[in-house]
Symmetry: C2
Subunit: 100 residues, 2 copies
């Protein structure tokens, strides 16, 4: 299983657009093969900074997602709005502990 964290910060003029765009992306991505989790959230300490918390069955599934035309278009769109800090890191998940 793959865990992934993405983070990006929108300029103030585009916060609402960012919220809407990410919700649309989430609804779509959850229908894709191998997508186990796709959560979009906003940093409580930095309005307009968003996190995407993902889980995928495999890196192949995640790479298939990333290669979709719509994903490239979304990246280009946010860059066009002035987002310049988009980062995405993925990890192979090892042993899990259910703490609560």
């Amino acid at each position: 299983m793959i865990l992934s964290h993405a983070r990006l910060t929108f300029p103030a003029a585009h916060h609402d657009t960012g919220r809407q765009m990410l919700q649309g992306l989430a609804a779509h991505t959850r229908t894709e093969p191998g997508c186990l989790l796709y959560l979009v959230s906003e940093n409580l300490e930095v309005p307009g900074q968003f996190f995407i918390t993902e889980q995928w069955e495999s890196m192949t599934d995640m790479q298939t997602h990333l290669a979709l035309p719509g994903v490239g278009q979304a990246v280009a769109a946010v860059q066009g709005m002035g987002v310049n800090d988009l980062s995405i890191t993925a990890w192979e998940a090892g042993a899990a502990t259910q703490i609560m």
Copy 2:
């Protein structure tokens, strides 16, 4: 390295209290040994549902954090506000891929 995802949903009357409490918890936890990341965010699709995205150097560091009296008090406090879905899952992080 340990990755952890926590999720909890506050009743509507306590959304603002939840936001403030989590920001305070984040500021404090980041000073603890082994804490590499402690991000608090709110689900864009479910107001009042919060995520805590954590990274720790080791499970020992995370368990030390969880055993602190302040953490137990925070869990009791949110349960007292009607939060009944608190979940925390931790994973050993395997190979990382920096996608962007």
